[in-house]
Assembly symmetry: C2
Homo-oligomer: 222 residues x 2
Amino acid sequence: MRTDADNVLALAIEVEGDGAALRLVSEAVAALGARITWISILDAQAPVETIAIEIATSRPATHIVDALAGLDGVRSVETNHPHRHVFGKRIVIIGGGSQVGQVVVGAVSEADRHNLRGERISVDTIPLVGERQIAEAVLATARLPRVEAVVLAGALMGGEIERSVRTVQAKGLLVISLNMAGSVPDAADLVVTDPVQAGVMAVMAVAKTAEFDVRRLGSRRF
Amino acid sequence: MRTDADNVLALAIEVEGDGAALRLVSEAVAALGARITWISILDAQAPVETIAIEIATSRPATHIVDALAGLDGVRSVETNHPHRHVFGKRIVIIGGGSQVGQVVVGAVSEADRHNLRGERISVDTIPLVGERQIAEAVLATARLPRVEAVVLAGALMGGEIERSVRTVQAKGLLVISLNMAGSVPDAADLVVTDPVQAGVMAVMAVAKTAEFDVRRLGSRRF
């Protein structure tokens, strides 16, 4: 599971694009005693590179911003809202278009209700076909920031996909499966027959504002 | 718009977690003449940090992997599929739960059809309420990797949201709006009344496999 830092600062840093921008920024952040928790490098081939960065620090924001803005080659430093505050926890729905399209309706509707009460939960999807393709996508969710649960939405999934499910579970992700053919339901933490209900339950499982704990359920098939 | 690199290598690098992992990796990648295009730092407080990284390079993968694996403090280097190959282009749908839930049905169904023909398009959503909250989320899409279009799905959006729309458009994102009250439809590249159709058109607009170019449309309201 991802690490929550107490004090996260999100910055967009414009640097003259000689290819050394990342090194410059990472050295400066380390020298300031702060820790980089997320980076995205935008327009890496532009004359001015923009590095979007989130850092965990106990120092005041102005101290960090002033220090970075004073570096040679840095054009500007802008403070933003950290992605955790903007997009929050992520649920990723993977599988056949018809099933993904129904699971996401339930998940978005339930996320709306939690987000209205101050949470931030986003719901990401990719419709995909093929054992290898889906297995790769499941594995890749564990390398994305802020993902807490994966929903497998299909009619038949097993083999390599089941192995991916077990791998991401070991990394702390919750896996919910539709009730389908194949071995994925046996590996999943929760199996739900109705796709809208599966989306709702996925959001409830990751929401702080819900009284729902998958580990405390008497049954794991619905 | 994001930069496509010809030869992208995705790696997961396990490094002893003394806080210097990012610096170590970024220096080594620069020394190898490669360019970091994406990084995610997972479990930054664990004794062993995992850095997921994508780099653009003209050198063979084995050369890069061997060089990184030989660094002091590096426990393992694993090659993965780049996120661009796994999740592809992203469309982000932002707004009220009821509208987001319908736009995403159209978008997922259409993305399914393109992904079956070899594309990779993923559809991400966040149901949100409030002018400031939505404006922040729109701005933040420009700092996320691989986002090509944003769909604003609501009944009334203007003010600060309109300003965010114009900002992300200037950064190369396509903005599609439902036909709604407020000034956002005036700023959008495309205005669509039916939410399912809006989702379908958003995917068509970013798909390589579709004969659809928003800039060549005679009308921008449907």
